[in-house]
Amino acid sequence: MIWYQYLSLGALAVFLIAMLWHFIRLIKEGKPKDLSTKSGNLPKAEVYAYTIAMMPNHKESAYLHLPSFTAGIFFHIGIFLSILLFFVFFFISPTLFPQWLQMVLALCIGICGLCGFGLFIKRMIVKKMRELSHLDDFLSNFFTTLFQFFTAIYLIAGSFAPIYYILVTILLLYIPMGKLKHMLYFFAARFHLGYFYGWRNSWPPQKNY
């Protein structure tokens, strides 16, 4: 391993400790203690909250905004793929990948990165998005988009390794500070939503007489 790989591993450790702290804090605070008489089925509601309720045909944020929603989905696929490759790269250098695989992965991640870049531009030029955003929103989008672009570049040009690992280091250290920690809070929010609607028997949806 080379120094910049150690650097990124150090950042990974900091990231994991910080996110673990957030996670433990949530667990310690616990779930709501509702003293009203439960009406619904909580396990079913929780499953629904994490699955069908997330489907694009169930949320206006998806079906009324298909271009943004689709770009967002690809953007996130690209992030997950890039994270996966970050770990893979410790065991197999991308230069050892078959050339076709390098090209396919780079192309896919590059397209996902472009989606992220598109959302970045949207945030800058659409007034309502600009007014809703602050520096953290721009930086979060910027770092994750760059992460994908450099994953793609590193796949086909091994000489970019130092820049790639430094960028990963910055990203990992940045995540717990800003909105990127929604990678944890997203799951907690779905849990609370399932709990709220499930307790009152609003989820899963009832048969419409």
């Binding site: 003293l35 008489t37 309720a53 944020s61 905004h65 967002g72 500070m177 809070y185 609370h192």
Partner: protein, 432 residues
């Protein structure tokens, strides 16, 4: 607004730092500012002002959370938009959280993450209440409930007169043995009303009494505490909400009734069915159900007979947010209405996706926001118009009030009825 004192600010921040569970922490950290909730909120849809985007309402509270409760917010406030709680912030909060949200929760279901925006808005209202910044109009409604026992300040003698008048109407229709029993004890049911009923819509009291008469129900209304509403749900003062809820709770015990039946009021049902045990920190010793569930029970068990051909006009249903999205009664409302009418048409959208009437969240009490309330109501008016219905049924007297105003302003030319009224119209009384 007078300049905020340090004491006021400290009270609000103390609330922010007090976390009974992980819900607040979660929702304050979850929004990704994607802005996709904008089109789910009737305020933004109707007025196209960016400050009405649901996420902007969340952001007000979240920015305070970041400033006072996170390291990043303290060290680098510019990075995460961590804001101070100052006069300008308080004014923005009042305008957005009290004046531009009905707490309908429509945006919650459609948020790309699942942020409970209505919960955060309510929390923001709690912070404002802690600082004594509840709009005077809304607070006056809560104060009326606290000092007189009902939110409209109706004198007991006036209330009794109205009930006696309705009892006479009922007896004209059903016979001498039909009654509206007041202040009796050891009955199966303590029934509650929205004070708008004795004040503006007394016929709905006669309607439910007719149903009780047909079902041979053992019931009573308390002249001391009949108010089902609880505007403490909206002013953000949980202590006051608890005081109001406790009165109703205690009245059931004092009257030794077996069940508390919540009259047709969306927020009142929510407050008493779902929130009150938490305000009082005790599970209720008796069953609490809504009037609609009770009526459905009569229909299902054959305790009352219904002839739906008696209601021939085309009927649509307005889903009160607090009964459907936030109360789980989607199917129950449809069962009741469809049992009682021959021609039914749904609004688009309806059920979990339904738009608020525009009068929820205490908006009907805050006259300073009347113009906004009527403007956002245009969405509901359009929904109603598109159904072609002649009758709009809704089991909530606040919704009835708002819909009646929309009916006038937007020339809808519809009749607005409660579920008890539409069921009473279809009731077949036993000749014996």
């Amino acid at each position: 607004m007078e300049k905020l004192t340090k004491e006021q600010i400290d009270k609000a921040i103390a609330l922010l730092k007090m976390r009974p569970d992980s819900k607040l922490e979660t929702h304050l950290n979850a929004c990704v500012h994607c802005g996709l909730c904008a089109s789910s909120c009737m305020y933004y849809k109707a007025m196209k002002e960016n400050k009405f985007i649901p996420a902007r309402k969340v952001e007000l509270v979240a920015s305070l959370y970041r400033r006072y409760c996170t390291l990043t917010g303290r060290v680098a406030p510019f990075l995460v938009n961590a804001r101070e709680l100052d006069d300008q912030m308080a004014e923005e909060m009042i305008d957005s959280l009290f004046g531009a949200c009905t707490m309908c929760g429509r945006c919650v279901k459609h948020c790309s993450i699942g942020v409970d925006i209505a919960y955060i808005v309510h929390f923001g209202r709690r912070m404002l209440a802690a600082m004594g910044l509840v709009p005077k109009t809304l607070q006056a409604t809560v104060d009326a409930a606290l000092t007189t026992g009902n939110n409209m300040g109706i004198e007991t003698s006036d209330f009794v007169d109205t009930i006696q008048w309705m009892e006479e109407e009922l007896q004209d229709e059903c016979g001498e043995d039909a009654r509206i029993p007041l202040d009796e004890t050891d009955k199966d049911i303590l029934y509650t009303l929205n004070p708008r009923e004795p004040k503006f819509f007394p016929l709905s009291i006669a309607a439910i009494a007719k149903i009780f008469y047909a079902a041979k129900e053992s019931w009573t209304i308390s002249t001391h505490m009949y108010d089902v509403t609880n505007y403490g749900l909206f002013n953000g003062n949980n202590e006051q909400a608890g005081q109001i809820a406790k009165r109703l709770h205690d009245e059931v015990i004092i009257k030794r009734c077996k069940r508390l039946v919540l009259g047709e009021c969306g927020h009142g049902s929510r407050a008493n069915r779902w929130e009150a045990p938490n305000y009082l920190q005790q599970p209720y010793e008796f069953e609490t159900i809504t009037a609609v569930e009770l009526i459905n029970n009569y229909i299902r068990t054959g305790r009352i007979k219904i002839d739906k051909s008696l209601n021939q006009e085309l009927v649509t249903l307005h889903d009160p947010c607090n009964l459907v999205r936030n109360g789980g009664l989607l199917s129950e409302l449809r069962f009741a209405v469809k049992s009682a009418v021959s021609n039914f048409v749904e609004m688009t959208p309806h059920g979990m996706d339904n738009f608020c009437c525009g009068g929820g969240g205490g908006q009907l009490a805050m006259s300073e926001y009347n113009e906004r309330r009527i403007k956002i109501g245009e969405i509901k008016a359009d929904q109603i118009r598109k159904t072609g219905a002649k009758v709009v049924v809704t089991p909530c007297h606040n919704c009835v009030d708002q819909l009646s105003q929309l009916n006038q302003v937007y020339h809808l030319n519809v009749k607005i009825k409660t579920i008890a009224e539409i069921v009473a119209d279809a009731l077949v009384l036993d000749k014996e």
